[in-house]
Amino acid sequence: MEVSTLTNVAFWGASAMTLGFALIVVTQRDVFRAAIALAGSFLGVGILYFVLSAEFVGVVQILVYVGAISVLMAFAVMFIQDVTLGSRPVKGRLVGAAVAVLILAAVAFTAVNTDWATMDDITDPVAIAALTEGYVEIGTGDDATVAITAPEGTTQLVVENGGVLVDSTGALGVLLIREYVLAFEIIGLLLVATLIGGLLLMRNPGPDSEAAAEEKADADAEAAGSEASV
């Protein structure tokens, strides 16, 4: 399936941005620079999603990754990291590099040598019609209310509901609610667990633990110091 030149340029540009920033993340000694580069990399990935006709996923990417996770990383860096120390190189770098190259080689080899089924392999005429030609009405009953069309030249699904053009978001929503509802609910549960776990880890230690005694001693010293200064 041919795509337009613009799409190609956009694709390669977005890839270059992603990979470039990723390189900065893994090589820069200064952790703050790494954090900023990470945000840039996430942005690149978002653009890539748009190029791949996954609009909803792209939006989610920008909202969650660029908006939340990058900020989280920046917070962590500012709170904890001794910025002057940075992230110094580690002894096993070469081995790691070799391993990374190995992974790349493995996946690349697989990708290139596999005979991928393309959209051209679809034989069912209705499917072809749905995916390539215009409006197709399918069956009766509940499903009949959904008409799926696809503009020419792409596999982007457009769901038409009573004449209103909608993008893949709706179809995705229906998918999540109907086919993948179990996974959806479990993800919710997982996030609750993550929340609780995070709170647990960050909790102040109890009144009889060492850290509490330490804090108390610090507080006393401070109080004494401040009293003395007063």
Partner: protein, 665 residues
């Protein structure tokens, strides 16, 4: 007509006396009880009577083969056992039980006062029972069992005076050397068994040989194996050196087992399997070994100083005669010589015991002039010596000359060689025997046991074991009696059992006929019997030659030891290297003891195996543990606590799985 039960009783009586002596008398009465002697003499006397009865039966009815009975029938192993009473067996029964009886009677006086008297008679009973069982056996394996029992009895009897280290060593040497031969015997049996298990039974074997069902090569190997056993037991070269050392045992023991019975077991074995030997290609070897041994042993007897050792070498030499006779096919003369030899050799040994009793020593250098003090012993020993030397008309003449005559008649190369060897040995036999007699009985008394001990002490050496105070008088009747009786038999048995002409009720060549022609089991055809010496012709030339040689030997001994015209010392000095070689018994003992045993076996084989065991096998678990722990430790190096190392490990693992899928689907 003897029944099977009575035939078994021949063996059973000495066994009973063994058990009674060994268990009851020793435990309840004492280890020095004279009842042991009475019981044994009674038992063996009973066996002797039964043997005579067996002889009469066989003489009138021919050979008897009692039934074979099942012994072991397990899986593929099927052995039978039983008794065979043919002429050969019956002759051996007479010899064994007769000589044993006389020796037991003699022992009553000779072993009088010994602190292990009971044990002595128990062992003597064991030996007699084993030997009788051996000659009566019908199955090769059964024979082997008794053969080994004979070996054990010999060990026990040679080492009878256990507290003497030399006796213990001699017993061990005897047992180990004969074991060597027995190993060959066992290999022969096993090989024959593997060819056909039914051949273990002797009658079956004879029939198979007559029908030529066995391959000649098979027969030869089996014969060689059997001959190995015979070489061991009969002290032929190269397994001869145990017999002179075996003189450490009591003299009566030597008289019984090392002159008349046990050592003849080897000759008996070859005779029993004579058809097998004839059928195979091993006869030449038998003859040559026998002939060589006859001369070889005789040379060593020329220079021995211990009277018992002279007799031991003489025994080896005479056994060589018997072997060479069998080797050239002279079956009847060989058995005849066995028969006559038993009597005069036993007489000589028992006489030597009397001499020891009187002079306190066995060393002839310290004897002399005993003729005056013990005339009965003297004359008996003279008679026996003349018989041994083979002078007309004593029994040794007849038997030895039949052998030599047969050799001359056969005329093959082997036979001519052994004829020459036999004549040389005859000369030497006469010489050494009369040298011994002259040194012992003639001349001046040279001090005896006391003087030997004194001189040894003065020279700083230990006194010889077994010497006692001299007692220059004739021995008690219990000792002279058997000696004299045996001497008489040595005179008459020769001519009257195998005369060259018909003498009254005794047929011409009765003995020879008896063991060959009438023995249909072994010699099924008349022709085979004749071949085996049933009709020995009297060869005047050979007889004359041997008599001349014997007389020459006697004369030489006379000149050297009585007249003193030829000084033995001078002769020894002239032939110094030869003298030394013979005196040291051709260094055979050193060869065996030092080279073979100490160096070859102990150092190379035993030490080598020990090194391997210590370093490899004992250390195997240490090595195992070391290696496993090293491998484990090297594996643990991966755990260095660094998270990133573990991450790398995981990634490598994933890549490996992916690669696996890629490459091998």
């Amino acid at each position: 007509m003897i029944t099977e039960g009575l035939a078994w009783l021949i063996i059973a009586l000495p066994v009973i006396s063994l058990v009674v002596n060994g268990v009851f008398v020793r435990a309840f009465i004492g280890s020095e009880s004279k009842y042991a002697g009475y019981i044994t003499v009674a038992a063996i006397g009973g066996s002797f009577v039964l043997s005579i009865w067996a002889l009469l039966t066989v003489m009138s009815d021919g050979p008897l083969l009692f039934e074979k009975r099942d012994w072991i029938a397990v899986g593929g192993l099927n052995l039978t056992f039983g008794l065979i009473l043919d002429q050969l067996t019956v002759i051996m029964l007479i010899v064994v039980s007769g000589v044993s009886l006389l020796v037991q009677i003699y022992g009553q006086a000779y072993m009088h006062g010994d602190k292990s008297y009971t044990r002595y008679y128990a062992y003597m009973s064991l030996f007699t029972a084993s030997m009788l069982g051996l000659v009566l056996s019908r199955n090769m394996v059964q024979m082997f069992v008794f053969w080994e029992l004979v070996g054990i009895s010999s060990y026990l009897l040679i080492g009878f005076w256990m507290d003497r280290p030399s006796a213990a060593a001699a017993a061990k040497k005897a047992f180990l050397m004969t074991r060597f031969g027995d190993f060959g015997f066992l290999l022969g049996i096993l090989y024959l068994y593997s060819v056909n298990p039914a051949y273990m039974d002797i009658e079956t074997l004879y029939n198979a040989i007559a029908a030529e069902e066995i391959a000649v090569a098979v027969a030869t190997w089996v014969a060689l194996g059997l001959f190995a056993g015979a070489v061991g037991k009969s002290a032929q070269f190269p397994l001869h050196s145990w017999l002179p050392d075996a003189m450490e045992g009591p003299t009566s023991v030597s008289a019984l087992i090392h002159s008349a019975t046990m050592v003849t077991a080897g000759v008996f074995l070859v005779a029993r399997f004579f058809p097998l030997f004839e059928y195979s290609d091993a006869m030449t070897l038998v003859a040559l070994v026998g002939g060589f041994t006859a001369v070889f042993a005789a040379t060593m007897g020329l220079v021995a100083t211990d009277i018992k050792r002279v007799l031991a070498y003489s025994t080896i030499s005479q056994l060589g005669y018997m072997m060479l006779a069998l080797g050239i096919g002279a079956y009847a003369p060989a058995i005849f010589h066995l028969f006559t030899h038993a009597f005069f050799k036993a007489a000589l040994f028992l006489g030597a015991g009397s001499v020891h009793h009187a002079s306190g020593t066995f060393n002839m250098k310290y004897m002399g002039g005993l003729k005056r003090h013990m005339p009965w012993t003297y004359w008996s020993m003279i008679i026996a010596s003349v018989s041994l030397a083979g002078l007309f008309p004593f029994s040794g003449f007849w038997s030895k000359d039949e052998i030599l005559g047969h050799a001359a008649e056969v005329g093959t190369t082997t036979a001519t060689i052994v004829l020459a060897l036999g004549l040389i040995a005859a000369l030497m036999t006469a010489f050494y025997m009369f040298r011994a007699i002259f040194l012992t009985f003639h001349g001046e008394w040279r001090g005896g046991g006391e003087r030997e001990d004194e001189e040894a002490k003065a020279a700083g050496e230990p006194a010889p074991v077994g010497n006692k105070h001299s007692h220059l008088a004739e021995s008690p009747w219990l000792m002279i009696g058997p000696v004299a009786l045996l001497a008489v038999l040595a005179i008459v048995v020769g001519f009257f059992s195998n005369p060259t002409v018909d003498v009254g009720p005794i047929d011409k060549h009765a003995f020879a006929h008896f063991v060959t022609v009438e023995n249909e089991v072994v010699f099924p055809t008349e022709h085979a019997a004749v071949e085996a010496g049933a009709e020995p012709t009297f060869n005047f030339v050979v007889a004359g030659a041997s008599t001349v040689l014997a007389l020459a030997g006697v004369g030489l001994a006379y000149l050297m030891y009585i007249r003193g015209s030829i000084s033995p010392v001078a002769v020894g000095a002239r032939l110094q290297p030869v003298y030394r070689l013979i005196f040291r018994k051709y260094y055979v003992d050193e060869l065996y003891e030092d080279q073979l045993v100490r160096r070859g076996f102990y150092r190379y084989i035993a030490d080598g195996v020990r090194w391997f065991d210590e370093h490899w096998i004992d250390n195997a678990n240490v090595h195992l543990y070391t290696w496993i722990s090293r491998i484990g430790k090297s594996g643990a190096l991966v755990q260095n606590g660094q998270t990133q190392t573990y991450a790398v490990g995981m990634v490598i693992g994933v890549v490996a799985i992916v690669a696996g899928f890629l490459l091998w689907g």
